[in-house]
Point group: D2
Chain length 149, copies 4
């Protein structure tokens, strides 16, 4: 497992890096996310819902959750030794419960499939305290890192 690759993909860009172009959105999204577990084919991250990621109803933004599913559900492929986290093909998510400001939520990503061409991860979003599910997602990716799908 390339532990550094997993970590790099989950960490906001550091100060020294120029943020003007690269990973600004991911940095915005990832800021405050901590890595709780990295093992082969399994990554858990968590976050205390910050004010900046709420929607207009004061709940954790549903679109934002998908952005995090994208990032955490991609990192898990590095944890299984894949040299790439792939190019997104499909994401689907079911929203089950609302998450509120200051809720500790975790993103539990597992690999569902590692084929030669298509790889799939699942991400379950839960409240850390109660284990209650907030959302469940699947993320299919094209294994070869390329913009040519």
């Amino acid at each position: 497992m390339d532990l550094d690759a997993v970590k790099r993909s989950l960490e906001p860009a550091s100060g020294g890096e120029t943020l003007s172009r690269a990973r600004f959105f991911e940095t915005f999204v990832l800021y405050g996310l901590s890595i709780d577990l990295i093992e082969h084919g399994h990554v858990i991250c968590s976050m205390k819902v910050p004010p900046r990621l709420l929607n207009s109803s004061g709940l954790l933004h549903g679109g934002l959750m998908v952005a995090l599913v994208d990032v955490v559900g991609s990192a898990v492929f590095y944890s299984a030794g894949l040299p790439t986290s792939g190019v997104s093909l499909e994401i689907s998510i079911s929203y089950v419960d609302a998450a509120y400001i200051n809720d500790e939520i975790e993103f539990d990503a597992k690999i569902l499939k590692t084929g030669k061409t298509v790889i799939v991860s699942t991400v379950e979003i839960r409240k850390k305290k109660t284990g209650k599910i907030v959302a469940q997602a699947r993320h299919a990716k094209y294994a070869v890192a390329s913009s040519k799908l």
Copy 2:
């Protein structure tokens, strides 16, 4: 149609509003989005892909696209006179082609279903110049605006 409700849901918070808590993420996402068409059950918005929304490969971030599907696919319900844009139940998206910096892309949202309890919109993301599809999404929502799903 409550034209103001449609517009309000698509516009980043203005300067006078306190951004610390409310709609900071949406403002971040929506900034630069222009409204091209609002008619009954149909909304088109467009955006020139800005540097801040790229992923680490230099392409429009896939998670970000879902955040925009969420917002534009919700606004379309206001355009049909619904008093609410609902609470998200399910989002699914197929990524078809990559979008690059400065590409003009449009988000074409239509209503697929307006039931008493469940409402569904579709959002097609296209390159404005060529009409080439970048992604296609469906967004199911619970019609009653409530955090109790």
Copy 3:
């Protein structure tokens, strides 16, 4: 739990019943399915892949798997005491591996969400011998049994 309701929903119609109109398709699909486990919010069924359910490549038919996800993923709501198995809103499935004739496969259905209006189940299709995942699905339903969505 209404054990009879769970069982009834998973059993092909018996000989005495007129099959001309009611449940002919389900009977065709369910024939040969056995119930391995029924507990609160959890149902496992299994089946030896029969010749009649293969596709033209000689593999278990993907559309047929969804028909079984529909049936088993609905029965699980009865196991949690719900008076209805609901009306389908959304199904999504990821195919992970092929299943061949005579493979013993199991359909493991759990409840992801029981709301007042929307209920969601997950169904994992696995090879019984190896535990290898064949497909994973989510099934969202409208809780009130009615043709008026």
Copy 4:
């Protein structure tokens, strides 16, 4: 376009063919389906909802609709000259309205994407008379016909 390949994939096996193993399920599903249009990247089929395909509530079976999405949404790739209809990766469907016995419904399949490795079709299920949408689906497939995904 290989017109014969499109047609063959949509027709139930004829009498001369041994049905014991090959395409029995598809034949069961396809029987009564007529081909209304075949053009490059676009196929429309229709069917009068027969008693054998109803669910226990007397409506067109939701799982069955997916089986037809699978078949019609695969045939459309032949219409674009692809030498294969691929191997299923993902299917997602939103159910919008119920279809009743004797309703004339059509399955309108279009190609969303033809990549070298991943191909995607959309299938809209409508009532022929009114154009009212019954369901909308997307179907992603792996382009190389192989059981090794």
